[in-house]
């Protein structure tokens, strides 16, 4: 990497970094390290923690609820990552069909879900899904589809997809906007060439647009994967992980272990494992998607 014209002596350079680093280590990294330490202990919040080695971790792998949580998270990743990504990409490609003024309005509206506090969104959607008062079931009944008016968030099979649906709603505008920028950086002459050659829109999309958008795909995947493992507020306010752990995810499990059962050591182990999982998946995505050209 070329030396930047602004570079200087390392020690002087560090001065720029120091304030951020100090406050970050003090209030984030320090506590994280302590939490990792806690994961090797047994502690109920009173008295001193008792060192137990890797007992928490071995217990994790045999814990059926934890394994359910991991499985649910894997399924939810489809809704967090793949569906919004696909939707976002497709919508970004067709947004050119809309006049520029409207484009701005559409973009604004589609992005709106993302800026809401997820706790409030959970409350809103829980009401939307209410089997008796909620608009969704009332709407279904009104159009004669009453048979589909299930108790969504209470159904063992449909609770997870119902939650996933909300997640898609939350993220797809965000993905679309990222792809829109990506598209802006593409060279229109490529498309001219293929159009002259008689290529249809689907072919164009598959062979030209998609490969060139790989950098954006990588970013979107990274961000949404992180979001999926960090998810808490949204799912917690909608279902609390129920019914019978059908929508339990590792973060909610960690909350239950720590804040409800006061098993802080075990909860810390769940947290550490979750973070490790994010790292692993992100690393895999990073390696798998290597844009050939581009950024």
């Amino acid at each position: 990497m070329t030396k930047s014209p602004l570079d200087g002596r390392p020690l002087a350079n560090l001065l720029f970094l120091l304030p951020s680093l100090i406050i970050y280590v003090a209030f984030i990294f320090g506590p994280i390290v302590v939490a990792v330490g806690l994961s090797f202990t047994d502690w109920n919040g009173l008295g001193r923690p008792v060192f137990v080695g890797i007992a928490n971790y071995t217990a994790l792998f045999r814990d059926p609820d934890f394994l359910t949580a991991m499985k649910n998270n894997a399924v939810l990743m489809i809704f967090y990552c793949l569906v919004p990504l696909a939707l976002g990409m497709v919508l970004a490609s067709v947004v050119s069909a809309v006049p520029p003024r409207e484009r701005l309005a559409v973009r604004t509206l589609l992005f709106l879900p993302y800026i809401m506090p997820s706790a409030v969104i959970g409350i809103v959607w829980r009401w939307l899904y209410n089997p008796l008062f909620g608009p969704i079931n009332q709407g279904l009944k009104a159009v004669g589809l009453g048979a589909l008016a299930l108790p969504w968030l209470g159904d063992f099979t449909w609770a997870l997809p119902a939650v996933g649906f909300v997640v898609v709603w939350y993220y797809f505008g965000f993905c679309m906007v990222i792809f829109m920028t990506g598209l802006q950086r593409l060279d229109p002459s490529l498309y001219e060439a293929s159009r002259i050659d008689g290529a249809g829109p689907v072919y164009t999309f598959r062979r030209i647009t998609f490969p060139l958008l790989l950098p954006e795909v990588r970013i979107v995947l990274l961000l949404t994967i992180i979001a999926s493992i960090k998810s808490f507020d949204l799912i917690f306010t909608m279902t609390r992980g129920g019914p019978a752990n059908a929508t339990l995810v590792p973060n909610i499990y960690m909350y239950e272990m720590g804040f409800q059962l006061s098993r802080f050591g075990y909860a810390a182990a769940v947290a550490v494992f979750g973070a490790a999982a994010i790292f692993a998946v992100n690393y895999a995505v990073h390696r798998a998607i290597n844009p050939k050209d581009g950024v």
Binding site: P5, L6, F16, L17, I28, P117, I229, A271
Partner: protein, 277 residues
Amino acid sequence: MPSSAPTAARSAGFRIVLWAFALFAIAPFGLLVMTSLKSQPDLMRGAFALPSRPHFENFVSAWVDGHFSTYFRNSVLVVVPVVIFGVILGLLSGFAFAFLSFPLKKIAFALLALGMMVPSEAYIIPLYYEMLYLGLINSYAALILPQIAMSVPFATFFMASAMQQLPTDILEAARIDGASRGRILMKVILPLMGPSISSLALFLFIWTWNEFLIPLILVNDDSLRTLPLGMLFFQGRHTVNIPVLTAGAVLVILPVIVAYLFFQRKFVEGLTAGASK
């Protein structure tokens, strides 16, 4: 923008699809606002039924019963310092990552990335004890300092990537002129970072405004609580009174929407500029 010159019909079709999705995106808010204007008997008549008259008293009720004036004030008192310091620190360390070399740079990078990936639930208990030892429990400092710290990683990377896109000749020229780095940062770089700064500020505003775990655990006093927490608390007391509950939700969401609509153009530009790195 690539144009595959779609036919008029196809174009109209795409427009319909897009607007349908846009409607899908905001429909829940529409219903939320409509419900907040109903009375409880109105509710029973059906989710889509319009209220006989708008019941603005729901908002008054939420504001007063829900102590929303206190929570609103607190949210503002917390958000402003967090955003200001988050941006300043982001500029400083972003500058370091963008242009400077220093030992263990890769490790520092990973360190900061770690903070973005670990959920706050994981380290909130150790953080609580730390605040206790520092004597900061139940104070605005307990709300502000950790959230500045939480803003640091994203602010750093965002500013760094935005700075790296600046034309290097200007920077070289300034350096040749003998200006110190601090001066260059302030006089040359800063003025060019307008859009990026405002989008970063907006992001930090949204995330800090919406944060609920930190105020929940680190603060005992009702007089220090922030808005989302008040909302959560309010829900516990009013699950039965849905119109007032939804009115409360609207009150919590409104400032964010206003800020977003105001800045949204710059916001999206900045987001995509930073994210494309």
